[in-house]
């Protein structure tokens, strides 16, 4: 038995066991809980980095066992999986630190951190899944493990948000299941293949394959909040800030987007999908979502709701990049998986800091707040500029690649979408930056007392600073092999070559 075949399972178990052992802890033993949480997430990060190194050098990490005759659970670290797994592992570590600070002395922390770890396990499962069956299993587990996080506060509003969340995602799951089962009955069980698994199967079933494609896209589209399936996302904003951060940057929304990537590239294959003419509608759907999300964000007063609509818009860049045929657009879409993750999580951390420290929830309360919390607002400013697409930040790299990819694929209309979207991003982000830096600070809000020199607890301050720095670095060092862009290029080489 070689150890390499256990590695993906080991990664999953790290957070699973962390979660389970946290459930059994006494609620009062917060030091032990923090220790477990941090060591679990650090261990997972180390494992993932190790696999990243291995995959780069061509190693193969695969765990597989049989559930039903012919139906396997398969976990494999290919380059695409590693892209998502690294993001999840890293942001789990960061968000754990943040959540520890954010939820200090609140009830039910065991439950929170337990399910938090479990949902990271589910995300890892989605990242490492090597066939649709495995993907589906973890996709549903993710729904189940994030539900307790969404309703964590236990208020009537939170429960309502949870109910809506469950309704949307379960219906999506059911549609996805139909698509997968149907596909399996046509082709038999198969694994993801770089360049597309369905190329090997017959072309005679074109109509069925097209219908299945859209069933599956609908299914994952619920989580990635494609319009008109996005309704759950703004209401789920009721959850505590670390949960929103996790939901938006890593777990739920990203899992949906990652599903789209997997279906297009590793199930159908980009060339086959192009032949079936299914990418055009997907591109249109993504574009509509991009514009719609931004337009709705314009009207939001509540900061977190604004960020939610911004997520709806931003995540669809990934779908857009996927839907445009050509290596450059693909690179743009894939790299945005990472870029959107680190930028959006920063924004949510900052929003969380504002509400936790100063009880600021709405934009009109933010006058001059940057002078009260300079570090937080610096992080906010950097990343919102990144979202708009100002060079040399991470968001610019995405938009650049999407733009030239669209030109390469002869689809100039995409440029217009990108331009309009950037404009709208600027319209809703710049006023926030303006009022927070250039208006006078009114000290009439009740403040939470924080001892020490820092503007807030260091556990709340450090995570957004790190991720803001990374979104700067991801843009500045984009040309390096180790940057997200470098890795996305590696994936694209492997997807387009075969």
């Amino acid at each position: 038995m070689n150890l390499e075949s256990y590695f993906p399972l080991l990664v999953l178990l790290t957070s699973l066991l962390t979660g389970i052992s946290i459930f059994f802890l006494d609620e009062k033993r917060s030091a032990l809980r923090i220790l477990l949480n941090i060591s679990g997430s650090a261990a997972m990060f180390a494992f993932v980095i190790f696999m990243l190194w291995g995959v780069f050098h061509g190693h193969n990490y695969e765990t597989r066992w049989s559930l039903l005759p012919g139906i396997n659970i398969a976990l494999r670290a290919d380059s695409m999986a590693i892209l998502f797994a690294t993001l999840s592992a890293f942001l789990w570590l960061i968000t754990s630190i943040y959540a520890i600070g954010y939820l200090e002395i609140t009830p039910h922390r065991n439950r929170f951190f337990g399910f938090f770890s479990l949902s990271v396990s589910a995300t890892m499962g989605i990242a490492l899944a090597n066939n649709l069956f495995t993907f589906f299993i973890f996709y549903e587990i993710l729904t189940l493990t994030t539900y307790p996080l969404v309703v964590h506060q236990g208020t009537e509003k939170a429960l309502r948000a949870g109910r809506i969340y469950i309704m949307y995602t379960f219906c999506g799951g059911a549609v996805l299941l139909i698509g997968i089962v149907w596909l399996y009955t046509l082709t038999g069980p198969f694994d993801f293949v770089e360049g597309g698994a369905l190329r090997r199967f017959g072309e005679e079933r074109r109509v069925a394959l097209v219908v299945i494609f859209f069933l599956m896209i609908l299914g994952v589209g619920v989580k990635s909040a494609l319009v008109p399936l996005h309704g759950w996302l703004p209401t789920a904003m009721i959850a505590p800030a670390p949960v929103s951060a996790l939901l938006h940057a890593v777990a739920v929304v990203k899992a949906g987007a990652f599903g789209i990537v997997r279906i297009v590239y590793d199930v159908y294959g980009i060339r086959f999908a192009e032949e079936l003419n299914v990418l055009g509608p997907l591109a249109v759907l993504a574009s509509v979502t991009i514009i719609y999300g931004s337009c709705r964000a314009l009207y939001q007063v509540n900061l977190k709701r604004l960020l939610a609509f911004s997520t709806i818009s931003q995540v669809s860049y990934i779908a857009l990049g996927v839907a445009i045929v050509g290596p450059l657009a693909t690179t743009g879409g894939l790299v945005h998986l990472i870029h959107q993750g680190i930028m959006k999580i920063t924004l949510f951390f900052c929003a969380g800091n504002l509400s936790k420290t100063l009880h600021i929830h709405d934009i009109n309360q933010m006058n001059g707040v940057a002078w009260r919390m300079p570090l937080t607002m610096t992080a906010f400013t950097i990343t919102s500029l990144g979202m708009i697409g100002v060079p040399p930040l991470a968001g610019f790299v995405t938009k650049w690649y999407l733009g030239i990819g669209a030109v390469q694929a002869n689809q100039q209309w995409v440029i217009a979408v990108l331009a309009v979207s950037s404009l709208l991003n600027a319209i809703y982000f710049l006023p926030i930056i303006y009022v927070s830096w250039f208006k006078k600070y009114e000290e009439n809000q009740p403040e939470e007392h924080i001892s020490g020199k820092l503007e807030t607890r260091w556990t709340l301050l450090l995570p957004p600073l790190i991720t803001a720095f990374l979104s700067l670095a991801a843009g500045l060092l984009a040309a390096s092999n180790l940057s997200p862009l470098g890795w996305a290029k590696l994936i694209v080489r492997r997807e387009y070559l075969p």
Binding site: L67, L68, I71, F136, I137, H152, L159, F170, Y184, G188
Partner: protein
């Protein structure tokens, strides 16, 4: 008589002997007798399983008398799985009942005496029921099946009346009458078959029965009788009151095992005896009833205000999934997938539903009622029970990873393969509706309350852990194809296209 076949007899004899010993030794010793009996049954069934695994289906003519005179017993993969299912559920229900019947909070002397007599009757009747169930699973002739079915019903009715309240007695009598009607129909059908074909033994009947107006009538009567006993919509009316008014361990046994007995008989007859031409048409009719059961049962469960009756209605819905087997297996080539799926559903539902009833029992023990809207703040103090309920809920909803999901996957696959996609839609809709009623309960685990510590009566630890183990088992079935390997031994679809061939 060689020893390999004697084992089969012991599977039936042991619980009978246990029941008698428990009755003679009285209420104090009854639990111990039950535990010892369970151990013996476990070892005998383990040996039998090994034999079936190694040598294929086992057959035994009791006392050496060959059919048509003698009693034939038969065990194949399906039988063994059912025996194991009743052991798992039965043993854990026994463990649960140990805690359930030692209620230290009853103070009055009459209350204590009353409680003790309930307890002693429970153990005896439960062992008796177990014997009837094992005999039913092993019977290979249609008249013995009738007798064992009746024994099963009588034991079940007696167990329901243990509760003692007038509601429970009414429900029990209603159940008894319904069951008797079912039994009469069944017996009538059996009589017609015997008059026409001159044998009662399943295998012999299977070879002889041909399509004809008389056999169609017989099949219709038998099927009707069994559907009544299994509570398929619209013949489910007796089930919710009967299952929800019984004592908790009894409810678990009824929902998990007793209805599976008549379903098992239907499986045997339908796929081994009845000719295909009849079952094709009738299968689709049953399918429609099954779909109605799934939708109606789930919707009714959603409307309930009391938890126990909600769980009972969920059984009505889940029974519907079992019966989807009949339309799906009507096309012979796809039979095996549907067959496997339905058996998976049978087993995982047994574990999950027993666990759910136990959790309801814990909540009733803790706060004295099961009104859903007054459950705020309770669940936080019974975390193990609530966790068990959630895990069991996964199987009921058919969410991965669970036995219920594996079952659903196989059923949906078969329905699409055989071109009957509408059953797949029903299956998925049922899952979504199930999510509706499961989450309407689960949300109370998260709801915020001002009352921090509701005064609770203590729940013994064995009552908390038994449902957790059961629900974990329901989950673990989804992780291994082992039951399928066992199920392949002696399955009625020898030439069916299996999944591997497709691959």
């Amino acid at each position: 008589m060689d020893e390999t076949t004697v084992l089969i007899v012991w599977v039936i004899l042991l619980p009978f002997v246990g029941a008698m010993v428990a009755f003679i030794l009285g209420p104090r010793k009854a639990p111990i007798v039950t535990i010892i009996t369970s151990y013996c049954i476990i070892s005998v069934v383990a040996a039998l399983t090994w034999q079936v695994w190694k040598y294929g289906p086992q057959r035994h003519d009791v006392g050496g008398w060959v059919a048509p005179l003698g009693i034939a017993l038969y065990a194949d993969g399906l039988t063994v799985l059912m025996l194991i299912m009743s052991i798992v559920v039965g043993t854990l229900v026994s463990v649960y009942a140990l805690g359930y019947f030692t209620d230290s909070s009853i103070s009055s002397e009459t209350g204590k005496a009353n409680h003790r007599s309930k307890s002693s009757f429970f153990w005896v009747l439960w062992l008796f029921l177990w014997a009837a169930l094992n005999a039913l699973f092993l019977s290979q002739d249609i008249f013995n099946i009738y007798i064992t079915l009746e024994l099963l019903t009588l034991a079940a009715v007696a167990l329901i009346t243990l509760e003692g309240e007038s509601e429970a007695i009414t429900a029990a009598i209603r159940y008894l009458l319904t069951s008797l009607v079912g039994a009469a129909l069944f017996l009538f059908g059996v009589a017609i078959l015997y008059a026409n074909f001159g044998t009662l033994e399943l295998e012999g009947l299977g070879e002889l029965v041909q399509t004809g107006s008389l056999s169609v009538v017989a099949i219709a009567l038998i099927t009707m009788g069994l559907l009544l006993k299994t509570a398929l919509f619209p013949m489910h009316f007796w089930l919710p009151p009967a299952h929800s008014n019984a004592l908790t361990p009894v409810s678990s046994l009824l929902s998990a095992l007793v209805i599976k007995g008549s379903f098992y008989v239907l499986l045997r007859l339908w796929f081994q005896v009845f000719p295909l031409e009849v079952t094709m048409v009738a299968g689709h009719l049953i399918g429609c009833l099954a779909a109605a059961a799934i939708l109606w049962g789930s919707l009714a469960a959603m409307c309930q205000k009391r938890l126990k009756i909600l769980v009972a209605y969920s059984t009505v819905a889940q029974v519907g999934y079992l019966f989807l087997l009949f339309p799906l297996a009507a096309k012979e080539t796809h039979g095996l997938g549907a067959w496997n799926g339905a058996i998976y559903q049978t087993i995982s539902h047994a574990c999950a539903k027993a666990a759910m009833f136990m959790v309801v029992g814990n909540i009733i023990r803790a706060i004295g009622h099961d009104r859903i809207k007054d459950m705020k703040g309770v669940c936080q103090q019974l975390p193990v029970s609530m966790f068990a309920f959630a895990l069991a809920g996964l199987t009921i909803m058919g969410m991965p990873p669970s036995g219920g999901f594996a079952a659903k996957w196989m059923l949906i696959t078969t329905s699409i393969q055989s071109g009957q996609w509408w059953w797949a839609v029903i299956l998925l809709a049922g899952g979504l509706l199930a999510a509706g009623y499961i989450f309407s309960v689960l949300k109370y685990a998260f709801i915020k309350t001002e009352i921090v510590n509701v005064p609770l009566r203590p729940v013994p630890r064995c009552m908390e852990w038994a449902p957790l183990i059961l629900s974990l088992l329901a989950l673990l079935i989804g992780f291994t194809p082992m039951p399928l390997d066992l199920l392949r031994i002696g399955n009625p679809f020898p030439d069916a296209v299996t999944m591997e061939v497709v691959k």
